[in-house]
Point group: C2
Chain length 190, copies 2
């Protein structure tokens, strides 16, 4: 068994040993949802003060309002009763370090891990690549405030999103742990 | 300001006041990623023993291997160096309570929140609906072990996923807090 798998299962055993949340209902108790980035430095339960049962948390590369994130948000509202949503991107995001063209070039030359230095991204090795990446929009980010605003606007404009649901736009600062409002996004989300 | 927004910002101020993780690097320190459900009862950092900086966490309705989840996983591996992945669905998932047809019917009659009882889902109210839902696959689930297996297989078969990355399949039990292996999925993921 891999070390990681072993460590995860051991940690889970510890969590389950003192688990006392077995009677929570399915709908989120505090009736809101957060869309944020998969970044390892972000712990939405900690940075937003969530306990088990409180809120839906949707995460992907960048915290982007992808079709799949909107699928999840619509289910969250329509079937599980959330009433307010947050879009939270963050400083120093990996999605700012590349473009669709860079990703397509890297994946065309090899599927293996690339590395980055001050000159940009480089493929580490020879190997089979794939042109499949050419058909994917990687949803990269140029400017965090702009990406938060765009995603809030995309969510609000979606035909399956009710017009009266507030969507708040914030940036999480990985240096300080603080949430910083994107005022234009929050205003657009109301 | 809404109560929820106020509470989230207050909790964040408390988190930031004692924040000491400002120097963590962007790539996940423990080099793995978890794909799991947005369900409010799940706290992946707690159930899998993660600290800030350890691992990528991707979440959507059901923890499904959607195109967007695979976009995130490929970025996680190719640019940020994760080496092992988990697919973790859970018991009592909302995605088991409806089908594409039910969701399409509900959204066609109204965008507002529906309710469920022993006879199934009902729309609560009159209102504008939308046929947009007819073009979306909602990625519902009939059987958790089967959905974990399908998602592990979809990830492993994807042309942008290297063949040597292990993908472990588990179900989180919301009653006990325990992770339960789906052995066929874990075996298929190796």
């Amino acid at each position: 068994m891999s070390n990681v798998l072993n460590e995860v299962l051991l940690a889970n055993r510890g969590y389950a040993a003192s688990f006392d949340k077995g009677d929570l209902p399915m709908p989120p108790g505090r009736r809101f949802a957060i869309l944020t980035c998969m970044d390892a430095r972000l712990d939405p339960a900690k940075y937003a003060g969530l306990s088990e049962g409180d809120a839906h948390v949707i995460r992907n590369a960048g915290g982007r309002a992808s079709d799949d994130a909107i699928r999840s948000l619509v289910i969250s509202y329509k079937l599980l009763g959330t009433r307010e949503w947050f879009v939270i991107h963050h400083t120093d995001c990996g999605m700012e370090t590349f473009t669709d063209d860079i990703m397509r070039g890297l994946l065309a030359s090899s599927l293996k891990t690339a590395s980055v230095d001050e000159h940009g991204w480089h493929d580490c090795c020879e190997g089979p690549g794939s042109a499949e990446a050419n058909h994917i929009s990687w949803l990269t980010i140029k400017d965090q405030a702009q990406s938060v605003l765009e995603d809030v606007q995309r969510i609000k404009a979606h035909p399956l999103v009710p017009s009266d649901i507030p969507v708040y736009g914030y940036i999480y600062d990985v240096k300080s742990g603080r949430l910083i409002e994107v005022p234009e996004a929050t205003a657009a989300g109301k």
